[in-house]
Amino acid sequence: MGTKVVHTRGDITLVTGVIGADTHIVGNRILSMALEEAGFKVVALGALTPADEFIKAAIETAADGIMVSSLYGQGELDCRGFRELCIEAGLNDILLYVGGNLVVGKQDWADVEARYVDMGFDRAFANGTRVEEVIDTLDEDFAARAGGIA
């Protein structure tokens, strides 16, 4: 993997946090630490972050992407309308990732992924995702954007 765009990482600001009433901070903190170590600018909002705080922070920091964690199962309720909120706030193109345990119970992943893509997330990541994979995918997506219309 490792698309050769490493040099641009320092220009990219990512907002991270755990959405809703969700207290699962461990994975989000490890992810934030790893993104920072990989060279991205990271704005870490921590656990229990309402949707509008993500948007506010993204505007304030002119972020390029938002990394939403949801572990506790209620993400499907918390994340509804997240893309719309972004658009309302003028964040039209912002890259939206979501990851964790995105629904209640053990459900078919393809189905879960589709639900989140329908909600407007660019990508959804299943439980068990390792940070290396996230970083690789970010590089790819930002490389594509740099080469594309963005």
Binding site: G20, A21, V26, A47, V103, G105
Partner: protein
């Protein structure tokens, strides 16, 4: 003055009866179902329950007979789903203690959002909430759960805001309630101060004592697992003892202590032993001689692997560890753990696997093993100074001490989301599989104790050929969740 009790200066002292009456009145008015709570009627209902449906009695009996009881977790978003679940856990799962986990909106007192969740769940035909919204249903409806089963029931509600939920739960007929001010506030909240969390649980404990005064022996329990993420025994036990002091201060006498498993047979057995010991020691020293303080062991609370076959070993070993450690009960998980809330069936299977594991190991005790004794001794040497320091910082008051010690980091919780906690302590697993402390943050260990931790973890770094750095802690978060081909491959080729 507000009747939430927040204007009384924080201390471990019992809330006076009349203050408490005011607090209750105000509290119950916060949501319509609060008005359904009728203490006298509730006490009558509790009195009508047979002994084997009273968790206080059942825990005492299990401890006396040297049994290890099984208890799962479990909550779904509607009464119908929850009834079905509890019947399955009682029946198919043979749970000795049947739980009701509340959903996260309830835990955060977002009852209108929980209402939406109930509606959505009904519409979608599946649970959209991660637990049962007890407050929304109210005590009368919720009591149907108690009536549907033949075992004692416990409320599991990981929150720093239990005030209304506990009123509903006890009034409905639950005879056990998990939760405590220090443990839950440090691991389930971001902006709630420790003082506020402690006050809220003082309310809960004080309420339990209202029942106790009428002869109802409710079982209160402390969630020692904290953030569930590689919490070393010394921290879990210290918090457990402090929470127990707070409960005892309100008058509680039947109080369980939980410990998340480290997954090291000897460390877990030693931790269970020392937890019971130190709890009795400190409670007695504070003048509470007549406390019943059983220890509950919890299936691995950190990240689980995705492979269900691998998970089956964690489930089963969880029973083994609890039985051999002499825990009075074990709280189980299932092979679905890494994915999401288990189906009733998977949950029941986890219970049965655990039960069989307990059956097979029920005779085994390791107390005379020198390695056990060394570890127990180490845990004592780690834990006593932490508790002593906290009490000292509180001028003898556990409530004040906890607030100040957490702020200063003299007591610290790994991976805590709470901003009133330093969360600088970093645990990691050593080469022999023991959980040790890589970075104590501001916590102070005796030099010889600190030396042991450092030496053990250096040996691991050396053996693995990795730097002695924080990554030892991060890899220890992932470790148990790693797929087997990464964790424990065939070692000799093919090259």
């Amino acid at each position: 003055m507000g009747a939430d009790g927040n204007d009384i200066p924080l201390s471990a002292a019992q809330i006076p009866a009349d203050d408490f009456a005011d607090m209750r009145r105000e509290n119950l008015a916060r949501w319509p179902t609060g008005t359904e709570v009728d203490l006298d009627e509730a006490i009558e209902f509790h009195q009508s329950l047979p002994k084997h449906k009273q968790l206080g009695w059942v825990m005492r009996k299990a401890a006396a007979e040297g049994r290890c009881l099984t208890q799962p977790r479990g909550g779904f978003g509607t009464l119908e789903l929850q009834l079905e679940l509890m019947r399955a856990l009682d029946g198919d799962g043979m749970a000795d203690i049947v739980p009701t986990t509340t959903d996260s909106y309830t835990r955060n007192e977002q009852w209108s959002q929980a209402d939406v969740g109930i509606e959505e769940s009904k519409k979608e035909g599946r649970s959209m909430l991660n637990g049962f919204p007890m407050v929304n249903y109210g005590p009368k409806q919720t009591r149907k759960l108690i009536e549907a089963i033949n075992k004692p029931a416990i409320v599991l509600s990981g929150t720093a805001m239990p005030r209304l939920t506990c009123e509903i739960g006890f009034a409905a007929g639950f005879t056990g309630y998990l939760g405590s001010g220090i443990a839950y506030t440090t691991s389930y909240t971001k902006d709630t101060s420790i003082a506020e969390g402690i006050r809220n649980y003082q309310y809960l404990d004080r309420l339990a004592v209202l029942y106790q005064e009428k002869g109802i022996d409710l079982h209160r329990r402390q969630p020692g697992f904290l953030t569930g993420t590689n919490v070393p025994p010394c921290i879990a036990i210290a918090v457990g003892v402090l929470d127990a002091l707070l409960a005892a201060g309100q008058g509680v006498r039947n109080y369980g202590l939980e410990l998340g498993q480290t997954l090291h047979l000897i460390q877990d057995a030693a931790a269970i032993q020392v937890c019971g010991e130190l709890a009795h020691e400190y409670l007695a020293a504070a003048g509470f001689e007549d406390m019943f303080l059983p220890v509950t062991s919890l299936h691995w609370m950190g990240a689980w692997p995705q492979d269900e076959a691998q998970c089956a070993a964690l489930v089963s070993y969880g029973g083994t560890l609890a039985a051999i450690g002499g825990a009075v009960s074990v709280t189980t998980k299932s092979t679905h753990e890494s994915y999401g809330i288990p189906t009733p069936n998977a949950n029941a299977e986890g219970l049965r696997t655990t039960r069989m594991a307990i059956y097979m190991a029920r005779h085994i005790r390791l107390n005379e093993l020198p390695e056990f004794q060394a570890e127990a001794d180490l845990i004592r040497r780690e834990t006593r100074p932490i508790i002593d320091r906290v009490l000292e910082m509180g001028d003898g008051d556990a409530a004040l001490g906890a607030v100040r010690a957490l702020e200063a980091g003299a007591l610290d919780i790994p991976w805590s989301p709470n901003r009133f906690v330093q969360s600088r302590v970093m645990p990691a697993r050593d080469l022999d599989g023991y959980l040790r402390v890589y970075d104590p943050g501001e916590m102070v260990f005796d030099p010889d104790v600190a030396e042991i931790h450092t030496e053990r973890l250096m040996r691991r770094a050396e053996a693995e050929g990795v730097p002695y750095d924080q990554n030892l802690a991060v890899t220890s978060v992932y470790e148990i969740s790693e797929p087997l081909d990464r964790l424990f491959p065939f070692p000799w080729g093919p090259e």
